[in-house]
Amino acid sequence: MSLQEKEVPILSSETIRETASPFVIMSRRFFRHSSARLGLFLLGILVVCAVFAEQIAPYDPIVPLKNVKRRDTACIRIFGCPAEESQHLMGIDGNSRDLFSRIIFGARLSLQIGVSTISFAIVVGGLLGAIAGFVGGWVDDLIMRILDVLLAFPSLLLAIAIVAVLGPGLINALLAIAIVQIPVYARVVRASVVSVKELDFISASRALGASEIRILFSRIMPNALTPLIVQGTLGIATAILSAAALSFLGLGAEFPTPEWGLMLGEERNSVFNAPHLVFYPGIAIMITVLSFNLVGDGLRDALDPRLSNVN
């Protein structure tokens, strides 16, 4: 039998197996992990709370309520709360405000804190890292050595020292946290830039007449996107924790902002007589940070298999 006689299948959209798009492959890898699914689920709840805070929260988070007992415990209908009393899912705080409403509004603030500080750190750090990696030479040395000094301090303590200079306050605290995070992103971007800048497709772009700026931003930088997304997600978790810590110490958000760390700090002396006021804000912080950590780990697995652990 000659070759020509053999029946050759006709290639058409029905006969060839469809190859999945990179996005589909990525999401498949992401959703393979139950921990990543859990993280995304928790994050979803948080985003809903943040976006619809006004609709979900039964009371105003700032204005004190009348006819309630300060630091009262929760009163929930299905657990036998009498009909003549108003319902408070998490009880009342030390200033006669509904704790549940404050926690819900805190979700909005915490997500804003995490995203804004990390965006700032990514933009500034990314730019510095890109310049250092792309230009090289003494510019590289100068930028990276200065950033090394920032890494020589324990991060929270450096943030505290920066707040000491800028003065306490939420904005200053966020700025401090962002500054502390800058070296991380500079290193990530620099590493990607250095690894691709000598490759052939860059020389090809240059030969075609692309400007250096264009080469840096539209040819080299896209390569840094993957590690930045992973590092950024994990960074948001750190930023939220640090912001809560600074507020807890009285160096961040100020009364009466519904910030979880501040709520904990305000009520830390009533831990023995009203533990619910300490318990709920902490749980809220933990769930938020946990969700970003789980999603970050999942993304790392999905986007860059080389980075993930063998297990």
Partner: protein, 358 residues
């Protein structure tokens, strides 16, 4: 090995200069004329000029920086604005507490971290593994100060009048006190480094108790340290457990483990002598890298358990605008951090000969 250490020491120099520059700038960036900050709003021009001449503030910035560095090398950190005491004295008072806390937190986190990591790796993908790793994920996500408050609530209130009751705050129970070692040992003429060292040892309740055979003091101090150390160490414990698990799994998949088993060695021997020893390199690194986190955690925990350490003093100094104290403590903490990293690198080179030859 020595060559490696010398090379690393040289690499640290620029970082040290950077740290000094940063801490020097901190006090220079503070808004307001230091003269008016210290002497009050109504200070006249001539008193201000005297003041500036006395503290060298009329000199050029590079000269001021040089003077600052020279003073630091001589061990002169300046005086606290609040009570005019030398900052070295304050450091000798406060640092031992933070050292004790960080030390015990590190012991707690590495012991249990490695243990849990090994258990998790050996029972890979079992329910034990899943639960341990979920616990570790929750551990890294917990705010230290929240965990501290919860521990205080559980061990001081819920478990009250049981053998597990632990003190929720303070460093020593009332009625127990520490005697300065200079008094106990009858040393009167201690100056300079010797005085600093003696004061440092005296202020460490644990060491003081051991050195003077005052075991009541020793155990009381230890009891007060348990809850704070657990609170500080939990994040590191989780990180170490995760690292141990993945490092051990990595090693267990390699050929020489199979060879060792094939030779007929017992499983426990293979794990202990072959696998764990090789997995130790990344674990040691991660333990060393936790120092910064532990120091940060100590700052937060000291304020919760009202322990007289560096952290509580630093927060107090920031809120009271006592900048020389902030500056002095920042230098000390950064130095500790940098030198721990150096020790980590050295132990890394010791454990893995490949690192020495670059």
């Amino acid at each position: 090995m020595i060559q490696f250490l010398i090379r690393r020491l040289f690499l640290i120099l620029p970082v040290l200069v950077g740290i000094l520059l940063v801490t020097f700038t901190i006090t220079r960036l503070v808004p307001g004329d230091p003269c008016y900050v210290m002497l009050g709003e109504r200070a006249t021009e001539s008193t201000c000029n005297d003041f500036k001449a006395r503290f060298g503030l009329d000199k050029s910035i590079p000269e001021q920086f040089g003077r600052y560095v020279l003073n630091l090398l001589k061990g002169d950190f300046g005086n606290s604005l609040k009570d005019r005491r030398p900052i070295t004295t304050v450091i000798a008072e406060r640092l031992p507490m933070t050292f004790e806390l960080t030390f015990f937190a590190m012991i707690f986190s590495s012991t249990f971290g490695i243990l849990l990591g090994v258990i998790s790796a050996l029972n890979r993908n079992s329910i034990i593994d899943t639960l341990t790793m979920l616990g570790a994920n929750m551990g890294v996500s917990m705010p230290v100060f929240w965990l501290g408050l919860l521990l205080a609530y559980v061990f001081a209130l819920v478990l009250k009048d049981t053998p597990f009751q632990l003190p929720p705050s303070g460093r020593l129970s009332s009625g127990i006190s520490m005697a300065p070692l200079t008094k106990v040992w009858g040393i009167q003429d201690a100056t300079g480094v010797k005085a600093f060292g003696l004061s440092f040892l005296s202020n460490s309740a644990i060491l003081n108790g051991l050195l003077t055979s005052n075991y009541k003091l020793f155990f009381d101090a230890l009891k007060h340290l348990i809850l704070p150390a657990v609170a500080v160490g939990t994040i590191s414990l989780s990180v170490i457990a995760r690292m141990t698990r993945s490092a051990l799994l990595d090693v267990l998949g390699q050929d020489f483990i199979r060879t060792a088993r094939a030779k007929g060695l017992r499983y426990s021997v293979v794990i202990r002598r072959h696998a764990l020893r090789n997995a130790l390199i990344p674990i040691v690194t991660i333990i060393g890298l936790q120092t910064g986190g532990l120091l940060s955690g100590a700052v937060l925990t000291e304020t919760i358990f009202s322990l007289p350490g560096v952290g509580s003093k630093m927060v107090e100094a920031i809120l009271g605008r006592d900048y020389p104290v902030v500056q002095g403590f920042s230098v000390v903490i950064a130095l500790i951090f940098v030198f721990t990293n150096l020790i980590v690198d050295a132990s890394y080179a010791y454990l893995d000969p490949r690192v020495r030859v670059k």
